[in-house]
């Protein structure tokens, strides 16, 4: 076979050896970082959704604990409280629970024998709030006091605050983790750039002596690492999407798990910008590191 070289069809070859771009160790580390960051992003989105879901569930209701006063029977006091609360703006429905339901609620706490029949127990009123403009606990309290009903209102705000704090902590942890991974990616690329410049000292020197500027040489490394990082982060993100999709499909029949981490198909798109982000981080780090190393040279 004879090789015929046609100068008119010649196009400049990469100035850095092609095989330098196939640093499998670097690619593996970057892909792993991308995989972890992608999972963190999916979990953060699902966790946030779970927290908001739980919050809206319990924030949409309130409980009124009614004690009978004077000649009132507990059932009558509860019915009165329910009537008063129903009239408050922002309440969709108020329902007094009868003795049997109240006993069923406390049953797990007092055991199978239940409460003594003569023991005075408070009655509960379950309140469903208007989801668009819910009444506050203070509104309910004011209305009950004005009607002379001895009751305590629990608007679940203590629980919603805790749930939201937990959700925010989960999101902050995920964002921090992604930030840490970005920093780690930068450190890995900086290390690889230094290694690359040391390994290709001959090429760098030849280019310098041929009149190449530091910027020209740094751009070569910048482009090389940006491309490698983009490829590796794409692989990592794709694997994370596949893993998250597999978990979603595997837990789709389990209501408890789904409620705990309600991953949606849209959440799986969260890692899509990561290859671009990885390329950007690698390009910036590669360039800055290469420029710093080149300036150290005579």
């Amino acid at each position: 076979m004879s090789l015929v070289f046609d100068p008119d069809r010649w196009w400049p070859a990469p100035l850095l050896p092609r095989e330098d771009g196939r640093d499998w160790t670097l690619m593996f580390v970057v892909a792993t970082l991308s995989f972890l960051a992608s999972l963190a992003a999916v979990v953060a989105l699902a966790g946030s959704r779970a927290a908001h879901g739980w919050r809206s569930e319990i924030a949409g209701s309130a409980t009124v604990v009614v004690s009978a006063q004077g000649l009132d029977t507990p059932d009558a006091a509860a019915a009165r409280a329910a009537e008063v609360v129903s009239g408050v703006k922002g309440v969709a429905e108020a329902r007094a629970l009868d003795a049997a339901k109240t006993a069923a609620l406390v049953g797990p706490l007092v055991g199978p024998a239940g409460l003594p029949a003569d023991m005075p127990t408070p009655r509960l009123v379950s309140v469903e709030l208007d989801p668009k403009a819910p009444a506050s606990g203070a509104d309910l309290d004011r209305a009950l006091k004005a009607a002379g009903v001895d009751a305590v209102v629990d608007d679940h705000s203590r629980w919603t605050a805790q749930i939201m704090r937990a959700g925010a902590a989960m999101q902050a942890t995920a964002v921090g983790l992604i930030g840490l991974i970005v920093v780690a990616l930068g450190a890995v690329i900086a290390f690889a750039t230094r290694q690359g410049l040391a390994a290709r000292r001959d090429v760098v020197e030849a280019l310098h002596l041929a009149g190449a500027t530091d910027t020209f040489i740094a751009q070569l490394f910048q482009a090389r690492f940006a491309r490698s990082a983009a490829q590796a982060t794409l692989v990592g993100a794709a694997l994370a999407i596949v893993a998250a999709a597999a978990v979603k499909l595997a837990t789709s029949g389990d209501d408890q798990l789904t409620a705990l981490l309600p991953v949606t198909w849209r959440d799986l798109a969260a890692p899509l910008p990561f290859p671009l982000l990885g390329a950007l981080v690698a390009a910036v780090t590669g360039r800055l590191t290469a420029m710093a190393v080149l300036r150290e040279r005579p």
Binding site: L3, F5, P7, D8, W10, W11, P12, A13, L15, P17, R18, D202, V203, E205, A206, L207, H208, L209, A210, G211, A212, T213, D214, F216, R295, P298
Partner: protein, 219 residues
């Protein structure tokens, strides 16, 4: 000029190469010829003394100014310094490429020059597959492709036969005729004699007191 704490390699040297001149640089091995060339093409910095190139003191030259200065200087290295992962054509095209010229503007020049140095049928080859002489001719092609204002060559005919050596010499003379300042370090007494141009002779890191024409250098 000294490397680290080693004894001085070059000392008490003072000379001027007028623009458009042609000189040989002779002297025994270890006399400092390569070091002198490295100082001129800015690969080394003098530990003392003053070097001016194109009227500029190189010690006062900013780092960012050096690449432009280097592009005006073509260098043929004794050890070639070819890029083994690039083809003959890519190696020869390095200068115009780094200078930012479009490939279409210099393809033909590179092909013509490679044909002229006898590498017309080796343009696709990779340097490790070339013979010593072919590598040397490629190094020369790479050095002259940008028509440098100064051409420095370190033993440029060390690996070629007489015919090719003369051909290379003619190329240098031609470049000199169009304005390039040429300085060639060489052991090749015949070549120096045939060139008939002044020679600077280095001995123990010093310039010989009366540099003269080639035959006198050999005397």
């Amino acid at each position: 000029m000294r490397y680290g704490r080693e004894p001085e390699v070059l000392k008490d040297i003072s000379f001027e190469l007028p623009r458009g001149s042609f000189h040989f640089l002779t002297g025994p091995s270890g006399s400092g010829k390569s070091t002198l060339l490295k100082l001129i093409f800015l690969a080394e910095q003098a530990s003392r003394g003053r070097i001016e190139i194109f009227g500029r003191d190189v010690a006062l030259m900013k780092r960012a100014e050096r690449p432009a200065m280097r592009r005006k200087i073509g260098v043929v290295f004794q050890e070639f310094r070819l890029l083994d992962h690039l083809s003959v054509f890519d190696n020869a095209a390095l200068g115009p490429r780094i200078a930012g010229r479009k490939a279409a503007d210099y393809r033909a020049d590179v092909a013509d020059l490679l044909a002229w140095v006898g590498l017309g049928d080796r343009m696709h080859a990779m340097p490790p597959a070339l013979s010593g002489g072919e590598k040397q001719r490629l190094a020369i092609a790479r050095a002259v492709i940008n028509r440098p204002d100064i051409l420095l060559a370190d033993e440029p005919t060390g690996n070629v036969d007489d015919t090719m050596a003369l051909r290379i010499l003619r190329l240098f003379v031609e470049l000199n005729r169009v304005g390039a300042t040429v300085l060639i370090a060489s052991h090749d007494r015949d070549l120096v004699a045939r060139a008939g141009v002044p020679a600077l002779k280095l001995e123990d890191g010093r310039l010989a007191p009366h540099p003269g024409f080639a035959p006198e250098v050999d005397a």
